[in-house]
């Protein structure tokens, strides 16, 4: 009744292959989109926008990018934060060199620059895999951050090595800088997140995604059936880095406004995004959303509950928060090793049978 394939007749290949084969899912998808675009901007306060929703949307993009690499292609990367830094510094260099360039174009170009850098650092993946590749990408993490703090050209020779985002507008609306309204920033992040999630979903359903998954499942077998590992692996690095680069650009330009490579894009951030992907679910678009929500939104909600709600000291709350999040990570991974997305998959199976399970 609620959640059924029955009665939902597919009369063409297109409708048979659609993303959401069940009518309930389709409706839910459009409802979520409508709520995100129409309802949320009306009720969103500055605090909720700047400390919860905007970081959530940005981390979703980063998690999607890393998920393409790890979840879909099976290539382990620890350089996510460095690629985010590439996106951030590209945005800074592009927008200070060409102030008239529309800022959305700058974000996309920054993603493309990051894609190129990602391909470069993805080259070792042709020879090495698994933990060895993780170490190679770790080199990217340290090298790129060193580069951005060492060479003045990247931060326009500012005395402290900080890069600050100047004010930029799009369609006459201020998008970056302190005077940007949280609604404008929210829409910017939302548009990018929705567009990129749509892109990721459709890419992973198509030929490209299938070659990635073939490489992930068994690279030798994939090669025998005609998948070119060079193209599959490097395209995976390129697409993944593009996503991560856009996330870095947004982190710098609309979320933080000023960053310093070592502080904002340190190794901790690489691990944070990696954990999002693992907890959310490898090889799942929904998992990227769930993982980002778990690690970005939950800590802030806990803080609101413990400090503002219960009036506990903020340092105690912070320590408790670390413990609670840590415990939850372990519980989630024991209860569902394949991540929160797998939990949702199980629920869907149950829903289909409900109310008459065998």
């Amino acid at each position: 009744m609620l959640y059924r394939e029955a009665g939902d007749f597919k009369t063409s290949y297109a409708s048979d292959n659609q993303t959401f084969p069940i009518r309930f899912d389709r409706t839910a998808y459009w409802v979520v989109i409508a709520v995100a675009f129409l309802l949320v901007p009306m009720v969103l306060t500055d605090y909720w926008a700047n400390s919860i929703v905007i970081p959530f949307l940005i981390y979703v993009i980063a998690a999607l990018g890393l998920n393409i690499l790890i979840g879909y292609t099976g290539l382990l990367s620890l350089g996510t934060a460095a690629f985010m830094a590439v996106g951030a510094y590209s945005t800074f260099k592009l927008t200070t060199a060409f102030p008239e360039m529309p800022i959305y174009i700058v974000f996309v170009l920054s993603g493309l620059v990051t894609a190129a850098v990602g391909v470069l650092f993805g080259l070792p993946s042709l020879k090495i895999k698994g933990f060895y590749l993780a170490v190679a990408t770790l080199a990217a993490q340290f090298f790129l951050i060193w580069l951005f703090t060492r060479y003045g050209w990247f931060f326009n020779y500012s005395s402290t090595g900080q890069i600050s985002m100047p004010e930029r507008t799009m369609f006459g609306v201020t998008i970056t800088g302190a005077s940007a309204s949280s609604t404008a920033v929210y829409f910017t992040c939302l548009i990018f997140t929705v567009a990129m999630a749509w892109l990721a979903r459709n890419m992973t359903r198509g030929t490209l995604g299938r070659t990635w998954m073939a490489i992930r499942d068994m690279d030798i077998a994939a090669e025998i059936i005609g998948v070119n590992p060079l193209i599959a692996k490097l395209s995976s690095f390129a697409v993944s880095s593009f996503f991560v680069g856009v996330a870095g650009a947004l982190t710098f330009a609309v979320y933080l406004g000023a960053v310093e490579a070592g502080e904002a894009f340190g190794i901790n951030k690489s691990f944070l995004v990696l954990f999002m992907v693992i907890i959310g679910g490898l090889g799942s678009i929904l998992g990227s959303f769930l993982g980002a929500a778990f690690l970005v939104v939950l800590p802030v909600l806990l803080k609101l509950l413990l400090v503002d709600g219960l009036g506990w000291p903020s340092d105690l709350a912070r320590h408790l928060e670390i413990m609670i999040i840590g415990a939850l990570i372990i519980i989630v991974l024991i209860a569902e090793p394949h991540g929160m997305a797998a939990l949702w998959r199980t629920m869907k199976e149950k829903l289909r049978l409900w109310p008459f399970p065998h």
Binding site: D46, Y47, N50, S159, P166, G262, E263, L304
Partner: protein, 428 residues
């Protein structure tokens, strides 16, 4: 059911904002957790204890109680932004993030929102140019002052010449640590000493390669811009290579008990800058004992009282309270707004008489803030660690910084910032 309750609680917590409260809101962006907690805890305790003292002893400022709110930043810029967002709608009178990284993010935001930002002895140095940075204050001294005072001290030690000397700057590889480099480079050209810059990546628990390099370079002096665990590690490494401790000078953030005590005997003779007095030999500490500690109101564990960074937190709170008093006098009413607070900070005058009245005689160099100068006096002293007595003692009087040179550098930097951000400098 349970979930809805929690959700309702969260929603209530987020929505609940106090209605027309008759008090003065002093938010605290503290960090009592993370690798920088050794510095964050004493500062937070000192800041909070002084505000508690004012509430308990004087009933607040101008008859209005001080309301404090605390937010944990963990020295992390993203959390700092979250903390700022959570208090900015609650008419915060003065924001003090105690982090140069967070300061850089807050400068455009406070300017837009009209919230006074006080970065005492840290943050963006060129913010001393009040015409470009009307909402940002960094009195009484900034990093460039610190660099200049350190060099002036060394000049004094070496008969006014540093020709041919080699000085190493070992610094926290962040905006904070890089801040003094332009000034030191400039001074190195002027006085003919060789400057070697050695960065330490945050948080700085591992510095053996840096100190190997220092041993190879054989510098005459080492100047350190460190914070958190980096300080103690650096002093330990210096002791290991038997570097003469009195030739090792830390900035004021590298001069707390937590930095030298772990090193034990080896740290004896280590020197650091300070822009305020040290020790508990001031009458205000009697009041803190009477009104705060004895009433069980001490912040944190109450074990930091009298330490160097505690004194600094106390000093920051004192300056904030004095600015609020000045603002109340200017405005003619007690319930001041952030904008009136800003005017009070700009008219702040700390004289020797006032310091004595506050129970802090000669605790700081007297200074006046003005629209053009948000940077105070710039003077600092040198303190030296005595490992036997476990105390810091002041070994110099106030040393002035080269404000002419710093003013020049700051004007250039502020002008660049104004051009980048379309600001027309001017008094408010």
């Amino acid at each position: 059911m349970k979930m809805t309750k929690i959700a309702a609680l969260i929603a209530a917590a987020a929505i609940a904002t106090p209605v027309v409260a008759q008090d003065l809101h002093f938010p605290m962006l503290n960090y009592r957790t993370g690798p920088f907690a050794p510095g964050g805890i004493p500062f937070a305790d000192g800041y909070q204890d002084y505000l508690t003292l004012i509430n308990e002893r004087d009933g607040g400022i101008g008859g209005l109680p001080i309301r404090t709110t605390e937010c944990e930043t963990a020295y992390n810029t993203e959390r700092g932004v979250e903390c700022y967002e959570s208090i900015r709608g609650d008419s915060p009178l003065i924001v003090q993030p105690l982090s140069t990284g967070i300061t850089y993010q807050l400068i455009p935001r406070v300017t837009e929102d009209g919230v006074p930002l006080h970065t005492m002895g840290y943050g963006r140095t060129s913010a001393m140019e009040g015409e470009t940075f009307p909402w940002v204050f960094n009195y009484p001294a900034n990093y460039w002052d610190g660099a200049s005072v350190a060099i002036n001290y060394l000049l004094d030690q070496n008969g006014d010449s540093l020709e041919g000397k080699k000085i190493v700057l070992i610094y926290h590889n962040s905006a904070y640590g890089r801040e003094p480099i332009p000034t030191l480079e400039n001074l190195s050209e002027r006085y003919g000493f060789e400057l070697v810059e050695i960065p330490v990546d945050s948080p700085g628990q591992e510095q053996s390669s840096q100190w190997l390099q220092i041993r190879r370079e054989r510098p005459d002096y080492v100047i350190m811009w460190g914070w958190g665990v980096m300080n103690a590690v650096a002093i330990q490494e210096a002791a290991n290579i038997r570097f003469p401790m009195d030739h090792f000078i830390g900035i004021w953030w590298s001069g707390s008990e937590n930095d030298v005590v772990p090193v034990g005997e080896g740290a004896d003779g280590y020197t650091a800058l300070t822009f305020h007095g040290v020790g508990t030999d001031y009458p205000v500490y009697d009041d803190i004992q009477e009104y705060v500690v004895d009433r069980g109101l001490a912040a944190g564990n109450g074990d930091q009282i009298g330490s160097a960074v505690y004194s600094r937190g106390l000093y920051a709170a004192m300056l904030a309270v004095e600015a609020a008093r000045t603002a109340q006098d200017l405005a003619g009413h007690a319930q001041i707004t952030p904008a009136e607070m800003r005017a009070g900070m700009e008219a702040l005058s700390i004289s020797e008489e006032r310091l004595a009245e506050l129970g802090l005689p000669n605790f700081s160099a007297p200074f006046d803030v003005s629209c053009q100068n948000h940077g105070g006096s710039g003077a600092a002293m040198i303190q030296q660690w005595d490992a036997d007595a476990q105390t810091w003692s002041l070994i110099t009087d106030w040393i002035d910084s080269d404000r002419e040179l710093i003013g020049e550098l700051a004007t250039a930097d502020a002008a660049a910032y104004a051009a980048e951000n379309n600001i027309t400098p001017g008094c408010m």
